[in-house]
Amino acid sequence: MRKTFLLVVAALAVAAAVGATAGARPAATPGVTAKSILLEGTYPLSGPASGYAPIPVGMGAYFSYANAKGGVNGRKINWKYEDDGYNPANTVQITHKFVEQDHAFAIVGGLGTEPQLAVRQYLNDNKVPQLFVATGATTFDRDYAQYPWTIGWQPDYEAEGAIYGKYVVANLPNAKIGVLYQNDDYGHDYLRGFKAGLRAAHQSQIVTAQAYDLSATTPPAVQMAKIKASGADTLVLFATPTPTIQAYVIGTKLGYKPANVITNSVSATDPFLTIAEKSGSNIVEGTISVGYLLDPSNPIYNKQPGMKLYRQIMAKYAPKANANDPLNLYGVAKAWNVVQVLKAAGPNLTRAGLMAVARKMNYSPGDKNANPFALPGVVTFTHNNFQYPISQVTLVKYVNHVFQPQGKLLAGRGALR
């Protein structure tokens, strides 16, 4: 009896102690003071997706650099991020905290298709910018009319898939294609785009498409065996890094040697392909993929002014990070964009003003204000009905452990600008 009473009282005392720390009073525009702008985002710092943890580190490094150069219209950027473990339930609660307790100005670069889908309606209902989400899921760019406060950033998966399709039509019109794709929105977006790029006439080139579930506990051995058995001479891999590397290795184990391999850009990085080679794969050389950012693990870009700036920023503001990791550069490149739109939104900073700027961006080499961390020539452009900030990529081929650009920029969507 007494014990029950004590328990209840103690529990309530704990709740009171916990609950008491409310939060600062919101300013006129939440997150904006005379001296600072609060930007926050959720990232998987633990769990299976924690490989993406370098992204917010890169972003922080660039924001520190920008702050050192005077900030944005006299205000310094206050960048905070927290771990959601890629669990959308955590993303929702943490995002509520960002909006209602911390009064962040904008949610920036939130990572993950599902985590960001979970908070999209909430942020739009509360008119909080969901800026430059870190995912290539097409819906974030395409559905701007329904979700005016949400905008993507990187080239979307469907567009990338279409580029591969067009490449096949132009260069491998008689190839027999075997596709290994991840059985979720990621893989489906790629495959849909790929088929669109192939057009109706060439879709029969796909002799087999094998689905692989990311939560499967065994490598895609069965699927690779079926692709080999289908006689496909062109292997297309639309999966995240681990199953992609496993596919390369299993292919060789089975004695499968396709003439061409096309791998999506998320998984086609030098570190991952090197692991595949070390693990015994002999079909890594010649892999075709696409890129849109400078690649710090590729020495051919070392002379680019953007790469030099990147390395300076990383050395000064994130010395412990691995500057050769492309994910750090991704963060820096995105943060550059964030600073641009903040500056353009002017000293009278409002959330609506920020979104208006983000929806009308034009950073191009012609105007000498292109993203220095993107490949030369890449334009960041949004306008009216076109809300895909970066939609250009270049084809790259993995030769001697380095991705060699192949020809000019390609437009994933719309015309080349």
């Binding site: 209840v8 103690a10 991020y81 509520h96 209602e100």
Partner: protein
């Protein structure tokens, strides 16, 4: 009246629950709403593990079943969200019963490991039937809007819904554990042989306990889906089932009011206390508070420390404070399955 739990304690709780939204910010109220729904889930798991002695590592899946039931009914069939709460519980409860029937054949650790299979199977099934469940992408639910002409924020309305449910399910839990069935449960926990010798059908008791606990978790799951406004397989990982188990141990398995502590811990540790503790550490000893994995280490260490300080949970501590001092070293009937060495 005693059958429904200490009325004074309940009264204090009700007063506190009503007062809280006026005292705390909108965001804290939102969090306290989750405390309410976790309370319901922990009550359910406690009935199975604390009172009947069956360890389950799969009750996060029953929450998932409740959440998906609610989501599919609301999004695809236009049912009013509030009505789906008992339905979510019911469907989860039926599945729990169905699982309980064969599960009673398994002894302790076999059962624990078998229940481990439930969330895995659940996630696999969710992905296998994407047309029905939305697959990996999941489904979005519409925000719960205040009813009955109230004009409050969605967070406060959600709080009202969660605690109304919790304040009904709590006396109900007392009713269950303080009656004949409750005595049967505890006898199964303490000695299956003695229970059988007394004419109790241990299989029946265990099965029913499974069903009841699944029902509670299903209700909690419906509320969870409504609060998160999104469901997908990643939202119900194994971690959730483990978190529920952590909650009942820290609250004190076998105590119902102890689950309040458990619920507070479950809600606040990941979102609030973990990062706060890490910040505190970094002031003392410089560490990168964003280092991947650091949050987990803090969570694990805190868990261990609390286990050492209070092996029988908050309820155990309360027993110590108010009970006879001589009992602390060997409480006569530690809640949960018997320790090694004790006669089964």
């Amino acid at each position: 009246m005693k059958r429904l739990g200490n009325p004074v304690a309940l009264g204090v709780l009700v007063v506190a629950v009503i007062a809280a939204p006026f005292l705390f910010s909108n965001y804290r109220t939102y969090q306290l709403a989750f405390v309410g729904l976790y309370l319901v889930a922990l009550l359910g798991l406690d009935i199975l593990t604390g009172f009947t002695g069956q360890i389950s590592l799969g009750h996060g899946a029953f929450m998932g079943i409740g959440a998906y039931t609610t989501t599919i009914l609301v999004v695809d069939h236009g049912v009013r969200d509030l009505w789906t709460i008992p339905l979510g519980g019911l469907i989860a409860g039926v599945i729990g019963l169905a699982f309980g029937i064969p599960a009673t054949r398994f002894a302790g650790p076999y059962l624990a490991l078998a229940t481990f299979a439930i969330p895995l199977a659940f996630i696999g099934l969710l992905k296998r039937f994407p047309h029905f469940t939305g697959g990996n992408v999941g489904k979005n639910l519409p925000q719960l809007k205040a009813e009955f002409g109230w004009h409050t924020s969605p967070s406060i309305w959600f709080y009202v819904v969660c605690w109304t449910v919790a304040l009904v399910m709590l006396p109900l839990a007392f009713f269950i554990v303080r009656g004949r069935f409750g005595r049967a449960m505890r006898s199964v926990r303490d000695s299956e042989i003695a229970a059988t010798a007394n004419g109790i059908s241990t299989a029946g008791v265990k099965t029913l306990a499974f069903g009841i606990s699944a029902f509670y978790c299903g209700v909690a799951g419906s509320l969870y889906g409504i609060g998160i406004t999104y469901v997908n397989p990643d939202t119900f990982p194994i971690d959730l089932s483990i978190l529920l188990l952590v909650g009942i141990v820290l609250g004190g398995a076998g105590s119902l009011y102890g689950m309040l502590f458990g619920a507070l811990f479950v809600e606040f540790i990941r979102i609030s206390w973990g990062p706060a503790l890490l910040n505190l550490f970094s002031k003392v000893h410089h560490i990168d508070t964003h280092a991947p994995g650091s949050g987990l280490v803090v969570y694990g260490v805190v868990l261990l420390l609390v286990l050492y300080a209070a092996p029988s949970g908050a309820a155990g501590l309360a027993r110590f404070s108010f009970g006879s001092k001589t009992r602390i070293i060997r409480p006569r009937h530690p809640p949960g399955p018997p320790a090694k060495g004790e006669n089964a």
